[in-house]
Structures are given as structure tokens and as C-alpha cells.
């Protein structure tokens, strides 16, 4: 799971974030002012600052927010001027939008706010429907509005071209003010809540933002999405009462609290109407005590009442946003928030700590217990080390002249306020700003945070308290070691903290009302208005050097961007309380020297090898006490028998292992079965097995064993174990056994070929040097494949050992260099380098309906019709209830929902129409349509382990790594990728030491891309979503992103979908399964001249650094059947004949992806006997000698 952030505001208005991977509250240094409230989504955080403006903090990403502005230039032909901007009076504007109705002159485009900047100047779009226009972008037509073509014809009377300009959002990772509206809002905002990203993912990054004003009105921000992060306009939402607080969940739940203590539920929130339509009132949980606060998630509602009690709403679901009743929960809280995955966070009324609700799962939404988040803040650490400042503060207690001293310090504070190290000093100004606004709606007991306005008063106060203090603080913490002790003492003493209810009666005199008024003036710039009041408060802070700083007092928390669930491993609770700071520092220093390199471990490794030398090296001729013998493991399984009728039959299975001739282990596996009451067996030599493939489905835990012979037949030995565990045990054992017999151990080599099955299982094969040999390469059905843990859709590698993968959920992963994981545990797996990996995908079913004249569309079909709930083919019945996740490894993570993003389009309810089943569907009903269908999707999730580490945060759809030749060592390896939104990205800082690289460089394009490949000479080819190819010019080490795109037309009438570039060869695959070779590519003309058809039935291609060509092919004939998804190798590829001659068939079917871009091993030169004689003797004079030596050894 990627690292995400939990946001919180403390009572002093400082904003902090806590990473799910970290253990420290980090202060948001950028915030120039204090904040009252924040609300977070995964991509951004919104806040209300003390100036009552709303600010947006959009998290920086390597993918810029680029908004494409476009306008059309229109021209008409006349006999005099030819084409000119002289248009007819009835024509459109000379500069217009695509429809021609809006006037859009180039200079009419303005940046929407200060947060935007232009990326470049206006330019003409030369690309027209996947083809270059070659006429500076002009497209021609008979008249406006009409069908445009890129060719000028005799009757072309008008022409137009598109101009483009990009603007870029620049205020990333900083608090940017949302521009105030033209019509200023009547009163400032007091509460804010964002959510709604799950109800509609179109347009991308869409958010609902709700706000409450001080007068109790509710506002909805329109038009927020990825390319318009600020939104466009505030719209007032009518209300039955005055609202004090509102909460919007990720889905369709929106609840608000009324001033009178009841709650409001928004109804009618939907995909088409994220704003909802009406309010329903729900009574406060407790009849006497009104509700003060509400928090909603996807399926949960939590509320607080004035007496700080916590309530959980029963019976909330997608049909009933109001729920059915309240349950009182343990704990007393003043603020509560529901984060992602319905996880709950709250701030306790007692100690103002942030609590995390543990044990919240989809089946137990109310969770189990509250657990305090006890990590320190980043300021804490610097403070605890700043012994000087604590010495100074200790000194103040003894100086007697408190006022004078503090006044001096205050001057310092003005100078030093920018100095982050002075933790105490910086804390002073926020203190003066802490005020009721944070607390007002939640009705927290106000006297908790005293406000002092008169310095004479404070000096009086301090002098009063001084004697008592002195006795307690007798020993100044002069030595650093003693500091934690003092700190502990402070924590034990409840009086110590500033915000703890003071027992000194004088504190009650503090005038809260006055403070509030004062506050409005102070807010904006505390340094400028550094009045007496701040002097006074500063003194207060000095008086209690630890209280405020050592124990955070939180006012607000938002988990909307914090992706944790009940399985997450969090370091938030490790330190028992703030006093264990020292311990957390210690643990950090431990992590600085990783366990791998720890002295104790080195010592053990060294001593063990010394021991071997001492005790064994001179005694190797001694007899071993224990003789090696055969080891047999037996079991019962089911076997898919080889003859008709095919069925599962019970068999006994045995694996016999023994030491082979050269000391490596070998074995045989036996399958004993009964044939007409006669006992028979089938066997396979372990060193003959080429691959073990797990085939999990919901009914059988089976796996397939292939040998070269079985691969040719397309008919493996299929076995099924009784339980999944048993299957995994066998697979792990057989796998180890196969690897042992071939002497393969440890991580995959840099040259390894990687492949992925349609189930997402990852396999790796060590290429033999003769794999690419001419004329007799190793047959590719003899390649041995072993499984590596993890789950991926795409894997790409190169010959220096950099391997990247992309999951089904588009998450990017980098190979850690380990092996094993998944069910390969213990010895078949490396101990470090294995991490948890999760992946998710959607399962689809179709709801089918037929129209009849009486009732319209119903689920009553004709007797000949398909099932009313079916798979996409309609042949199998698939209902919401009987549909299971793809295998036991997968679990559901959501409920069924209508999928609107189907090809062909869909109407508002997701329906697609057609004349009859099966037919092509379209998204709107016509008179000829008698059937309709809609697709339902349900997400499922798989969690496994493997040698993969996530490369957050950008999701990818394709990746490619420069294939290096064997001799060349490169420092920085070029790596390009396509984001899952179609952006082209170039990864910086990728090297063998840092295979994950450091950051993405965005490469601008005018359209979305789907495939990319980089060749050995840095030639970058890419395929756009419209199926055309592009070549990127001038890519080099100095200019890793190149300079411009060259549009390469695709083969006639074909849309390309994938590209792979080797040393010089460029191959593409189109959507109809054709494989194309690019002709005429030369170093001086890298774009080449034309496409040449090579083969059909191709699904994917991988071209390696030797220009070797491997594909995944469909429809490969075997003796027992046809297979789809087969690994094939192009034979006869030579430098002078890069297209090769024929295909050699390897493992399959069910394969989805292969990469051979790691294999740069030049095949051994085969010397034909006739060429021997002199030449061979002279060129290899040493070889015989070496052989002689080898024999002598």
C-alpha cells in the first residue's frame, strides 16, 4: 500500500501530517498562517485558515496538472484571397470553439488564478485523427459545420485548424488560496469537508467539497477535478435549519449537524448529482443532549454529542443513508473523523490526543478499541536536543525578574521567528492565536485554553506561581540525559500542560471574550502585531517549557487521504507515551545501520567460515558419518487423466529424490493410478520438468506439470490437491526439487527472461548461451521456468538486472533482487527482499433485458435468449450472488456497482442498447433497439508476497527499460513509462544500485499514449491511444527526455497497440493481432520508411538487445489441442536478416506477457568442421591446454 498521510491541526493552529510509513508528526512548514480545520483527500488537503479563506494544498506529483486550452481558427476560400480570415457574415467567429458557437480569440484566454502558469505559447495541432496533416494543421470541408478531411479537395470552401496551449498548476505542496468569488460570500466559512470521489470517477479526480459558513449556511464547490483542482464556483445549498458542521464521505453519504443538535442527511446524492437533492432530519442520538459533530465514511456514520459521548449509526447502507439507530460506543471525544476504508480517528476530550479505532473491518465497521497515536512531532526532537534552550528557560525561573527577561526574549523571538531551531520561540506566536473558532461548533470547554491579554496581569500571575515552581524545578536539566526524566515528571503532573484545566483559581479571570475580538486583528501577521499580548503569552510559554511542546494537543484530524486498513502495519503506537522519545530516537539510529550490515551478523558469518576452515578443510577425506540415501515424499491427489472421457481420478503421487552423479540432487515423480483394476503408473524425471504452473480456480486446487514433450502436445500433467495449502506445499517442494536438479538457486540472473500468465503469476527462465544460437538454438519448449512470488500484469527488464513490474491495478513495482515469496517459503525464498504485495481487479457480469410492448424493458427474455444475468458472452449464468472471486486467493473488496465506462458508451443508468443479442451495443436507445444490457463490476483484491517493492505514487500502464549490450556499463539507465492516464514519463536516477530511480520527468504530448519502448541506442517509440506510432527525437544521456515527437502513420487501416524496440529492430502489434516490422530504419533515419507484415495471431512482442524476437501468440496448434497465449521464439534472426524465418513454440497457453530484454548473451559461434584447420588453431591456441588442465584436475 502506498504511503499516505494523516492530517491534523493542533490547538495552536499548526498543521501536521503523519505518514502511514512513518512515526513522526511533521509540521507543515509551508503554512504561513494558522489553520482552523483541514479536510484531506488522497491527492490534496483543503483547509480553513485563520483568515477565514479556504486554502488548497495539492500534493506535488511528477505528473503535472496540465490543462489544455484549445481554440479553432476558421477560414473561408474566396477567389481573390484564396483562403483567408474573411468569413461570410453568417459564418462562425474567426476564432471559435469546436462547435463554432463561442468566440474564443487567442488573447481571450486568461489564467484562472495565481496558481497557474502558461507552459508555452499557442501552437497548431498538426495531428488529425491519428494522421499527420502535413499542412500546418489545416483540415478542409465544404462548409461549416461539416465533415473535415485533411486533404484539400476541389470543393473545399472552408478550412480550420486547432490551436493548443497548456497551462500548468504550479502551487503544488503549498497552501494556495482559493480565489475569492466575484460575488463575495456573505460570511466566512467555519467548516469544510471533502469526499465523493467514489461516486463518479469521471472526470478524473472529481471531488465534492462542502463548506459551512458561520451563519450556518451550506455551500457546495462546483467543478473540482484533476485538471481544475481549485473548482470553479461556490453554490449555496438550501437548508431547513442552521448547520454547524458537515461531513462528506468518499461515497454518497453526506451528513450535517444542526445548531439545535439534530442531524441532517443528504438524499439523492448520485453519479449524476453529487450535490444531492434534499435533506432528511435524523434525531440526535440522545434525547436530551444534542449532537455536536458527525463523521461519515462509505458505509458508516459516527457522531458525537455535547457530553462528548461517541455514537455509531446502525443500518447504514447504499439504500438507506439514514441508517436505523444509534449505538453508544466507549470513549469521550470532542472531534471524530472517518478516513479511507471507513477507518475512524478521533480526538479525546480528556487529553486531546488523536485516537485511532482499531479493528475496523468491512464486517466489523464499529471496530474494537481506541488506541492513542503517540508518535512525537518533528519539533519535539529538535527541542529535546536543544539543551541550550531548556537551560535558558530553566534560568528564567531563578532570575526573579521574569518580566524583564521575557521582554528581552521577545525581541529575540522577532528576530528568530524564522529560525526553525528555536522551537520554543516559534511556538509563541501561534499560541496567541489559538482560539475558540477551532472549538466553537464542537462546544469544547473553552477554559481549557486560557487567553491572556494583559501583561501586568501575567507578571502578577507568574510571580504568584514562582515559588511553587521553583521547588519543583529545583534541578535544572543541565545535562542532556536528565531531560527525559524531567519530561516524565511533567507528564505525570497534570497541572503542567498549558491546556490542562488549571487549578489555580486566578486563571479563571482570563477574559475569553476579549481574546476573541483581539484575535481577528492578530491573525494575519502575528509578527507585525507583536503587541503586549504576545509578550504575555510568550511568558506563559516560557513558564512551562515542556507542557505545550512535549504533548501535542490536537484540535482537528482528517483521515480522508490516509489509506490504512485493519491489516496495515503502523508505527504510530510504538512509543508508549511522549516520554519514550529517547527510545524512538534510539530505534531510529538503529535503522540507520541496517541489520544486514550489523557487526554481530558479520561476526557470525566470518566465524562460521573460519570454523569451516578450521574443522573441515583439512579433513575432507574423512568418511561422512551419515550416508546419503533416497528420500521419498508421498501423497494422494487427483489427476486429470490423459484419455477420454477426461475426468479427475484419484491417484497416489510420489516424489523420489536422490543424489545425482555430480552431487546435485535429482528425482523422479510417479503417479500411480488404476486402469481397469490394474495398477499402473506414469512418471516424469524431475530434471525434465520445464515448469510448474498453479491453476487455481474456485473448485480445484490444481497445478500443471510440463515437460518438453507435454509442451509440444499442449497437454500438461494436471494434478489437484485436496487443499490449497497442500497444493502449495507440493508446488514449493517440486519447485525446489526441479531447481536443485538443474543446479539453479538464488535470485534470477540479469539475463533472465521474465513472463507472466493470464492469472498474474510471474515466471523467470535462465537463458542458455545457445538460446539465440544460429543455426541450432535451444528449442524454446526446453526452457526451464520457475515461479517468483507476486502478482503482476506486465514485467520489463534489461541486462543490468533492473526489473520493473506493473500490477493489474496499475501499481508500479521494482524487483528487489530477491527470489521466492508467495507460497515459496523457507529455503526456496530469500529472507530479506520479500515484501507484501497486493493487487486488485474487477470482476464483471452483465444484466441483460429485452423490450416488450407492454412493460417496456424487463428481465423477462425470450426462451432463446441468454441468461438475464450472464458473463460477457451470455453463455454462462453469472448472478450477483453466485459469482465468486477468480480464485480463493482473491477476496471481494467492494459491492457490485454499475460500470459506466464500457466501450460503446452507456446511458445515465449504464445501459447499452442493441437490436438483439449478441450485437454491437451503443450508449443510447433508438427505435430499432429491442435489447439492452449493462455491466456490473465488483472489485476484488489479492494479497501475496514477493521480491517487489512499490514505486509510488503514479500508476502505470506500460514501462520500458533501455536494453544494454553486454560490454557496456551504464551509470544511469533510461527508463520510460506510460501512466495509466496516458502521460509519457521518463524516470530519472535509475541505476543498478537504485533500480527504483528517484523521480519522474513528464514528457509533454498532445494526446494520450498506451505503449512505449526504448531501444539500445536510446531510440524511443511509442503508440498513442488513437493507434498511431510516434518516434521521439534526440533522446540521449544529456537529454534523457529528448526534444520532439515525430508522427509515424500506422499500417493501413490498422490501429497499433504495442511496440518493442531492440538493438535496431522495431516491431509493433496492432489491435487485430498482426505483427509488423519497421523497414528502412537506419542510424541517420531512425524513423524508418514503411511497415512490413510479419505474422498474425500475435498478442504481444518483445525484442531484445540482440534483436531477438519473442512473442505471445494465439492459436498455436498442439497434438492435443489449440492453445492461446503461447510463448514463441523467432528463428533465423540474424544481423542481415532481422525479420527471421519461422516460429519455435514454447510454453503456453495462458501466457500473457514475456520480456527477453535482459538476455544480451551473444550465442557461441558455431564453427563448421569444414572451416576448421589453420584458422581455428591459430585463433584458439590456448584451448587445448585449458582442456588438458581440466582433465588433470
Amino acid at each position: 500500500m502506498p504511503i499516505s498521510l494523516l492530517w491534523a491541526v493542533d490547538v495552536y493552529g499548526r498543521v501536521y501530517s503523519l505518514s502511514t510509513g512513518g512515526g513522526l508528526w511533521e509540521q507543515c512548514r509551508d503554512a504561513h498562517m494558522e489553520f482552523k480545520r483541514v479536510t484531506a483527500a488522497q491527492q490534496c488537503c483543503w483547509g480553513i485558515a485563520c483568515d477565514n479563506n479556504i486554502y488548497l494544498n495539492l500534493h506535488a506529483s511528477d505528473l503535472p496538472v496540465r490543462y489544455k486550452e484549445e481554440t479553432y481558427e476558421n477560414q473561408r476560400w474566396n477567389p481573390v484571397d484564396s483562403f483567408s480570415d474573411r468569413l461570410l457574415p453568417s459564418d462562425r467567429w474567426q476564432w471559435s470553439d469546436v462547435t463554432g458557437l463561442q468566440h474564443h480569440p487567442l488573447d481571450g484566454f486568461l489564467l484562472p488564478s495565481d496558481s497557474w502558469e502558461w507552459e508555452g505559447d499557442w501552437h497548431v495541432d498538426e495531428n488529425f485523427e491519428g494522421e499527420p496533416t502535413e499542412k500546418v494543421g489545416w483540415t478542409y470541408a465544404i462548409d461549416f459545420p461539416a465533415y473535415y478531411t485533411k486533404d484539400k479537395k476541389w470543393n473545399s470552401c472552408v478550412r480550420r485548424r486547432r490551436w493548443l496551449r497548456y497551462r500548468r498548476y504550479r502551487s503544488m505542496d503549498t497552501w494556495a488560496k482559493i480565489p475569492p468569488q466575484q460575488t463575495t460570500l456573505p460570511d466566512p466559512f467555519s467548516d469544510i469537508s471533502c469526499g465523493g470521489w467514489e461516486i463518479n470517477e469521471e472526470p478524473r479526480g472529481r471531488l465534492s467539497l462542502w463548506a459551512v459558513s458561520l451563519q450556518g449556511k451550506v455551500w457546495f464547490r462546483e467543478g473540482i477535478y484533476h485538471l481544475n483542482p481549485e473548482g470553479s464556483v461556490w453554490e449555496e445549498v438550501s437548508l431547513p435549519g442552521e448547520v454547524i458542521q458537515i461531513s462528506c464521505g468518499p461515497g454518497d453519504l453526506v451528513w450535517a449537524v444542526l445548531w439545535e443538535g439534530q442531524l441532517l442527511v443528504r438524499e439523492g446524492v448520485s453519479r449524476d448529482c453529487p450535490k444531492g437533492s434534499s435533506w432528511v432530519t435524523v434525531d440526535s442520538p440522545s434525547p436530551d443532549v444534542g449532537a455536536t459533530h458527525v463523521a461519515v465514511g462509505v458505509n458508516v456514520v459516527w457522531a458525537l454529542t455535547k457530553d462528548n459521548k461517541v455514537w455509531f449509526r446502525r443500518g447504514i447502507n447504499s439504500h438507506n443513508p439514514c441508517g436505523s439507530g444509534w449505538i453508544n460506543m466507549v470513549g469521550e471525544m470532542i472531534m471524530i473523523n472517518v478516513g479511507l476504508n471507513d477507518q475512524v480517528l478521533a480526538i479525546s476530550s480528556e487529553d486531546r490526543a488523536v485516537y485511532f479505532r482499531q479493528g475496523v473491518t468491512s464486517s466489523e465497521l464499529s471496530g474494537k478499541t481506541w488506541r492513542a497515536i503517540t508518535v512525537p512531532r518533528d519539533g519535539d526532537r529538535s527541542h529535546s536536543s536543544a539543551s541550550a534552550s531548556s537551560l535558558q528557560s530553566a534560568g528564567i525561573y531563578f532570575c526573579g525578574e521574569v518580566r524583564a527577561q521575557s521582554a528581552v526574549s521577545d525581541v529575540e523571538s522577532e528576530r528568530g521567528s524564522t529560525d526553525g531551531a528555536a522551537g520554543l520561540v516559534t511556538s509563541s506566536s501561534p499560541e496567541s492565536l489559538v482560539d475558540a473558532p477551532t472549538d466553537q461548533p464542537v462546544e469544547t470547554p473553552k477554559p481549557h485554553i486560557p487567553k491572556v491579554t494583559s501583561d501586568s496581569f501575567i507578571s502578577e500571575l507568574v510571580s504568584d506561581r514562582e515559588p511553587a515552581k521553583t521547588s519543583r524545578e529545583e534541578t535544572p536539566p543541565a545535562v542532556l540525559e536528565e531531560e527525559p526524566l524531567a519530561l516524565e515528571e511533567d507528564l505525570k503532573d497534570p497541572c503542567a500542560g498549558v491546556a490542562i484545566p488549571p487549578q489555580d483559581p486566578q486563571w479563571c479571570n482570563v477574559d475569553l471574550e476579549e481574546a476573541q475580538i483581539q484575535q481577528t486583528g492578530v491573525v494575519l501577521d502575528s509578527v507585525d502585531t507583536c503587541s503586549l499580548s504576545s509578550v504575555a503569552t510568550y511568558t506563559l510559554a516560557m513558564e512551562d517549557p515542556y507542557g505545550a511542546d512535549e504533548r501535542p494537543l490536537w484540535a482537528w484530524v482528517s483521515g480522508g487521504g490516509c489509506n490504512v486498513d485493519s491489516h496495515s502495519q503502523l508505527n504510530w503506537f510504538n512509543s508508549m507515551n511522549a516520554s519514550s522519545l529517547v527510545q524512538s530516537v534510539q530505534s531510529m539510529s538503529l535503522s540507520v545501520s541496517p541489520a544486514q550490515t550489523a557487526a554481530w551478523r558479520r561476526q557470525i558469518f566470518e566465524q562460521l567460515s573460519e570454523r569451516t576452515k578450521r574443522e573441515m578443510d583439512n579433513f575432507r577425506h574423512y568418511e561422512q558419518a551419515i550416508e546419503q540415501s533416497v528420500w521419498v515424499k508421498k501423497g494422494t491427489m487427483q489427476w486429470w487423466r490423459d484419455w477420454k472421457p477426461y475426468k479427475w481420478i484419484d491417484v497416489h503421487f510420489a516424489l523420489e529424490q536422490f543424489s545425482g552423479a555430480e552431487g546435485n540432487k535429482d528425482g523422479i515423480l510417479f503417479i500411480y493410478y488404476n486402469f481397469y483394476e490394474e495398477k499402473k503408473y506414469l512418471h516424469a524425471f524431475v530434471n525434465d520438468v520445464t515448469i510448474l504452473v498453479p491453476v487455481l480456480n474456485d473448485s480445484k486446487h490444481s497445478f500443471a506439470i510440463y515437460t518438453p514433450e507435454r509442451t509440444k502436445q499442449r497437454w500438461p500433467i494436471r494434478l489437484s490437491a485436496a487443499t490449497e495449502l497442500e497444493m502449495q506445499d507440493w508446488l514449493a517442494l517440486l519447485s525446489v526439487s526441479c531447481c536443485d536438479s538443474r543446479g539453479i538457486q538464488g535470485p534470477p540472473s540479469k539475463q533472465a527472461a521474465w513472463s507472466i500468465t493470464c492469472k498474474g503469476d510471474i515466471f523467470v527462465s535462465e537463458p542458455s548461451p545457445s538460446l539465440e544460437a544460429m543455426p541450432y538454438p535451444t528449442p524454446c519448449d526446453q526452457m526451464f521456468w520457475r515461479q517468483v512470488g507476486g502478482h503482476l500484469r506486465i514485467v520489463e527488464c534489461n541486462s543490468v538486472g533492473i526489473v520493473w513490474g506493473i500490477g493489474y491495478d496499475h501499481t508500479a513495482w521494482v524487483h528487489t533482487g530477491g527470489y521466492g515469496g508467495g507460497f515459496f517459503q523457507g529455503l526456496a525464498s530469500s529472507t530479506d527482499n520479500i515484501y507484501t504485495q497486493s493487487d486488485s481487479k474487477s470482476v464483471y457480469i452483465y444484466e441483460n433485458q429485452r423490450w416488450n410492448p407492454v412493460t417496456g424493458y424487463t428481465n423477462r427474455g425470450l426462451p432463446t435468449d441468454r441468461y438475464m444475468w450472464s458473463d460477457s458472452s451470455g453463455l454462462h449464468e453469472c448472478t450477483k450472488t453466485n459469482m465468486k472471486p477468480p480464485s480463493p486467493q482473491w477476496t471481494w473488496m467492494s459491492d457490485w456497482s454499475v460500470d459506466y465506462s464500457v466501450s460503446g458508451g452507456a446511458d445515465r443508468d449504464g445501459w447499452q442498447y442493441a437490436a438483439d443479442f449478441p450485437a454491437s451495443y451503443h450508449g443510447h436507445k433508438t427505435l430499432k433497439d429491442f435489447v439492452r444490457r449493462r455491466r456490473w463490476a465488483r472489485k476484488c483484491k489479492l494479497t501475496t508476497t514477493g521480491p517487489w517493492q512499490e514505486v509510488p505514487p503514479i500508476s502505470l500502464s506500460d514501462v520500458t527499460i533501455l536494453p544494454c549490450a553486454a560490454q557496456i556499463s551504464v551509470d544511469v539507465v533510461p527508463l520510460w513509462a506510460i501512466s495509466n492516464k496516458g502521460d509519457v514519463l521518463c524516470r530519472l536516477g535509475v541505476s543498478t544500485l537504485t533500480p527504483a530511480g528517484s523521480s519522474w520527468l513528464h514528457v509533454g504530448t498532445d494526446q494520450s499514449f498506451k505503449s512505449i519502448s526504448i531501444g539500445a541506442a536510446s531510440q524511443v517509440w511509442a503508440i498513442a491511444k488513437d493507434g498511431s506510432a510516434f518516434y521521439r527525437g534526440s533522446v540521449s544521456a544529456e537529454s534523457p527526455a529528448g526534444d520532439s515527437w515525430y508522427h509515424i502513420p500506422s499500417p493501413a487501416k490498422q490501429k497499433l497497440k504495442q511496440v518493442s524496440v531492440g538493438r535496431t529492430s522495431v516491431y509493433t502489434v496492432d489491435e487485430n493481432g498482426n505483427l509488423w516490422y519497421r523497414q528502412g530504419v537506419t542510424p541517420s533515419y531512425p524513423q524508418g520508411s514503411s511497415w512490413e507484415h510479419i505474422s498474425n495471431n500475435v498478442r504481444k512482442v518483445s525484442v531484445g538487445p540482440l534483436d531477438q524476437v519473442w512473442i505471445i501468440a494465439d492459436k498455436v496448434q498442439g497434438s492435443h489441442g489449440l492453445s492461446c497465449g503461447t510463448v514463441c521464439h523467432r528463428l533465423g534472426v540474424q544481423p542481415m536478416e532481422p525479420k527471421g524465418q519461422s516460429w519455435d513454440y514454447g510454453i503456453g497457453g495462458g501466457w500473457d506477457h514475456i520480456t527477453v530484454r535482459g538476455n544480451c548473451m551473444e550465442p557461441p559461434r558455431i564453427r563448421l568442421p569444414s572451416l576448421g584447420g589453420l584458422a581455428s588453431q591459430s585463433s584458439f591456441p590456448v584451448s587445448t591446454e585449458a582442456n588438458g588442465n581440466a582433465v588433470g584436475c
Binding site: 519514550s580 544486514q596 554481530w600 583439512n618 579433513f619 574423512y622 551419515i626 546419503q628 528420500w631
Partner: protein, 275 residues
């Protein structure tokens, strides 16, 4: 980079070159040749010395032969301690091969247990594993295993099958990540200078405050004498599998990697050689 799994292999395949000599007092028909063997450190004397017995039976009158037992420099060797422990305890810092005297008479009933068959060793071995698992997992893992799984552990040791043994033993070495280690570390501390056979106590891998316990912490708690005094000369060696791990080595790691097949961490505390 060396991997932790290499440690498991090194531990398993540790061998002590041994020279078996027949006791002078035994009546022989002809002179007995010494017998040389590489003994697995992790196994048991009586489990791996069938060849020795066969060798010497050739020269003594079989009628006279009673149960075979071993002695090193006057100390009868307890077969129920792993061979490596016996060596580290009694014979480390001596010249190799290790000279063991073989006896067929005068079985020292006070010092040694009888070992009439391999099944006695198996019973002893399995009971150690069960005892260790009781400490590590409240016996949950070992009880979940089937009879054949137990057999696999034993057969692995008996036949020196590392893979076979570890395929099963890894289950005994697992623990919930949130616990940070076993419930208690199964260990035994041996010393030469005491009548007490060994020290065994309940000791957790992680302190209640969350500190990782080290070998030094363990010794400080149960056998502080073994630790070097501040400023003073080192008096004792703390030896596991013939090596001296640093005192800051985490105990949990030691238990996972340097335990004997019986799941116990056998620690020998021996005086530093005087020279």
C-alpha cells in the same frame, strides 16, 4: 552478500573430524585401528556411530561387548547432548581431530543414560522439540503437526537431509510479526565447572518495553558470571556451534538461526584457555 539461509546450512553441515580409539583395557584379538569419521555437529553420538561399533566389533570378542559408550579425557560423553555441544564444552581449543575413546565395558551408570536403540534418541529428540515449542508457541505449532510431519523432522536429522528437515522445521520457526519473536527463547547454557547439567529459564526475546533482547541480556539475567567484568580480562568464552557470537546479537535471531535441530539454542560457557 551472505544470506541468513547460508547460516542455516553452515550450522547443519558443521562437521567435527573425529578419531575413535578403542580403550586400552578392552580385550582384543588383534590391534584395533583408529577409526576416522566426520561427525555432524547437530547430531547425536549414538545416532552416527553405527560404523564405529561395526569397526571395533571386528576386533573384540562380540560376546564381551556390552553397550558402547564414549569418553574424552576421562569424561564420559553424554549421547543426549548434541555432538557439537560435547565438543565445544570439552574439547574446543584442542588439536583436531577430536580423539574419542570407545568403551564396551564398565558403562558409567551414574553419568550416562542408556541408549539401546535409535528410537530412544528419536524420543529424546522429539521431546526436546515439543518442549521448545511449548516455550515458543505454547505447543501450538507442534501439536498442529501430523505424525508424519514429526517423522519428517526426525528422518531429516537421521539421514542428514537438510531440505527435508527444514521444509518442516520452518513452521516451528515462525512467529506472528506483531510479537517480534517467540514467546520464550528455548535455550540451555552449559558449563564445565559445575555439577548442574545446564541452565534453562524462561526468557523473552523482547523486553516489556519493546527492547530487543540480546545474547548479552540473556547472560546478564541468567548467568552473569559469564560476562566479562568491566576492565577485567575476559574469563569465559560463550560458544555456540563453535563460534563466539557478539554479545549484542539479538537473541531471537540466534534462536532462529543457531538453534540445534532440537529447537534449543545450546550455549557453552567455557573458560578462556590459559595460554
Amino acid at each position: 552478500m551472505a544470506d541468513d539461509k547460508d547460516v542455516l546450512r553452515d550450522v547443519w553441515f558443521g562437521r567435527i573430524p573425529t578419531c575413535f580409539l578403542l580403550n586400552q583395557d578392552e580385550v582384543t584379538e588383534r590391534e584395533a585401528e583408529p577409526y576416522y569419521l566426520l561427525l555432524p555437529r547437530v547430531s547425536y553420538l549414538t545416532l552416527v556411530t553405527d560404523k564405529v561399533k561395526k569397526h571395533f566389533h571386528k576386533v573384540i570378542r562380540t560376546d564381551d561387548a556390552e553397550e558402547m559408550w564414549f569418553e574424552y579425557e576421562g569424561t564420559p560423553l553424554k549421547w543426549h547432548y548434541p555432538i557439537g555441544v560435547l565438543f565445544d564444552l570439552h574439547a574446543s581449543n584442542t588439536v583436531l581431530p577430536w580423539s574419542i575413546t570407545v568403551h564396551f565395558k564398565n558403562f558409567p551408570e551414574r553419568d550416562l543414560l542408556h541408549c539401546p536403540s535409535h528410537s530412544v534418541i528419536e524420543a529424546h529428540f522429539m521431546s526436546s522439540i515439543k518442549e521448545a515449542d511449548a516455550l515458543k508457541h505454547k505447543s501450538q505449532v507442534v501439536n498442529d503437526m501430523q505424525k508424519k510431519d514429526h517423522k519428517q523432522l526426525w528422518m531429516g536429522l537421521q539421514n542428514d537431509k537438510f531440505d527435508q528437515f527444514w521444509a518442516m522445521n520452518r513452521k516451528l520457526m515462525e512467529y506472528p510479526t506483531e510479537d517480534g519473536g517467540f514467546r520464550f527463547i528455548p535455550f540451555r547454557i552449559y558449563q564445565t565447572l559445575s555439577d548442574r547439567p545446564f541452565i534453562q529459564k524462561q526468557f523473552r526475546p523482547v523486553s516489556p518495553e519493546g527492547h530487543v533482547h540480546t545474547l548479552g541480556d540473556l547472560l546478564k539475567e541468567v548467568y552473569p558470571v559469564a560476562l566479562p567484568t568491566e576492565g577485567g580480562p575476559k574469563r569465559f568464552q560463550v560458544v555456540i556451534h563453535g563460534i563466539e557470537p557478539l554479545l549484542e546479537t539479538p537473541l531471537q535471531w540466534l534462536s532462529e538461526h543457531l538453534s540445534h535441530p532440537d529447537s534449543f539454542l545450546h550455549i557453552c560457557v567455557i573458560p578462556v584457555p590459559s595460554d
